[in-house]
């Protein structure tokens, strides 16, 4: 085999990515997002407008990058078994990092709850704070969250089976459940008798549930992008 012929073949199963503008584009938009977020929290003028623009920018870069990954995975056939394993590992690492992030949030809660400060009456919830009943809206929201996990898996499995309408219905149901979840969480915030400025109990509660809600809104955006993608690509087999 001559070198010329050999150069037509790839002697390894990995995907060597071609030059792409999206990594630097994503970096810049994420930097804009964090910067404008910090400026917003410090009350700078017009920072909030920049926050929304940066958020839009992040969503744009995400959708463009996803579009490229989809064509690499399908039309270009770059996702070999080795590449799939790498993607699985990436997702596993991402979930581990999320779990550790929430471990930190739970740590703040246990730190404050297991030995409550004397200034707060040495009791938990602190004196004067009416805690939320976990078996009311939180339980319902847990059921909704797990159900949305089912509907999105149903959509995924329908997609694998080549069942287009099943995939679309699954995703639409997931988006609806996500909206209901977020709405109920908003309701919970409105009717709770304490705010995020009410002692370490309020801080822990809104820190944890706020980030949990954010973790639900981000996949919701991603799923909406997927819904758009599925409308473009006709996967009826």
């Amino acid at each position: 085999m001559t070198n010329l012929v050999r150069s037509n073949f790839q002697a390894h199963p990995f995907h060597l990515v071609s030059p792409s503008p999206w990594p630097i584009f994503t970096c810049i938009s994420l930097l804009a997002l964090t910067t404008s977020g910090v400026l917003t929290m410090h009350g700078f003028s017009f920072a909030q407008d920049f926050l929304y623009m940066a958020l839009l920018l992040v969503i744009f870069t995400m959708s463009f990058w996803f579009r490229d990954v989809i064509s690499e995975a399908t039309y270009l056939g770059n996702h070999t078994l080795a590449v799939q394993r790498g993607i699985n590992m990436g997702i596993a690492l991402f979930i581990i990092s999320e779990a550790l992030f929430f471990l930190a949030i739970f740590w703040t809660f246990f730190h404050s709850a297991l030995s409550p400060a004397a200034e707060m009456g040495a009791q938990w919830p602190p004196k004067g704070i009416d805690s939320v009943n976990p078996f009311e809206l939180p339980l319902l929201n847990t059921v909704i969250l797990l159900s949305s996990g089912f509907t999105v898996t149903y959509a995924h499995h329908s997609l694998i089976q080549g069942n287009r309408s099943g995939a679309l219905y699954g995703i639409v149901l997931t988006v609806m459940l996500a909206l209901i979840f977020t709405g109920l969480q908003g309701l919970e915030y409105t009717v709770s008798s304490f705010t995020l400025s009410d002692s370490t109990y309020g801080s822990c509660f809104y820190f944890g549930t706020g980030f949990h809600g954010l973790n639900y809104v981000a996949p919701y955006i991603i799923i909406c992008l997927f819904l758009k993608t599925k409308k473009i690509y006709n996967i009826e087999s």
Partner: protein, 130 residues
């Protein structure tokens, strides 16, 4: 799938001896689908076998608990919601409750609205510091 063989081994070790065959099968079927179908048509290689196994696994999903769980959860929440407001009506009004020094802390204004209320503020439920 990366973790499948090791997870399967761990499951076998943990469930192998102690539980009934029925439970063991139910626990293990998530990772080891029964009788993977034979390849017909596409070339017999690792990639196509993996795709076929994934497709086979995807056919085995069941979510019959979802709708009843949602209904029961919703009814339960409605019930407790009514109880909560029933209880709330018998509590002293907000302005008569004690404002301990660790409540309603303000070190600087919130970056929204008038800077003194949380974003989903409801005067019926939350006291404001005057």
């Amino acid at each position: 799938m990366l973790p499948r063989p090791s997870m399967l081994r761990a499951l076998r070790l943990s469930t192998g001896n102690r539980q009934s065959p029925v439970l063991r099968n139910a626990l293990q079927c998530r990772f080891a689908s029964t009788e993977p179908p034979k390849l017909v048509g596409p070339m017999d290689n690792a990639f196509n076998r993996e795709r076929l196994a994934v497709k086979h696994h995807a056919a085995q999903s069941a979510g019959s608990v979802v709708v009843p769980a949602l209904i029961i959860g919703g009814l339960n929440a409605k019930n407790l919601w009514d109880e909560h407001w029933e209880h709330w009506e018998h509590m002293p009004p907000l302005e008569e409750r004690v404002q301990y020094p660790y409540m309603n802390i303000r070190t600087k204004a919130y970056p929204w609205g008038d800077g003194d209320k949380v974003s989903l503020f409801d005067p019926f439920n939350q006291a404001i510091q005057s």
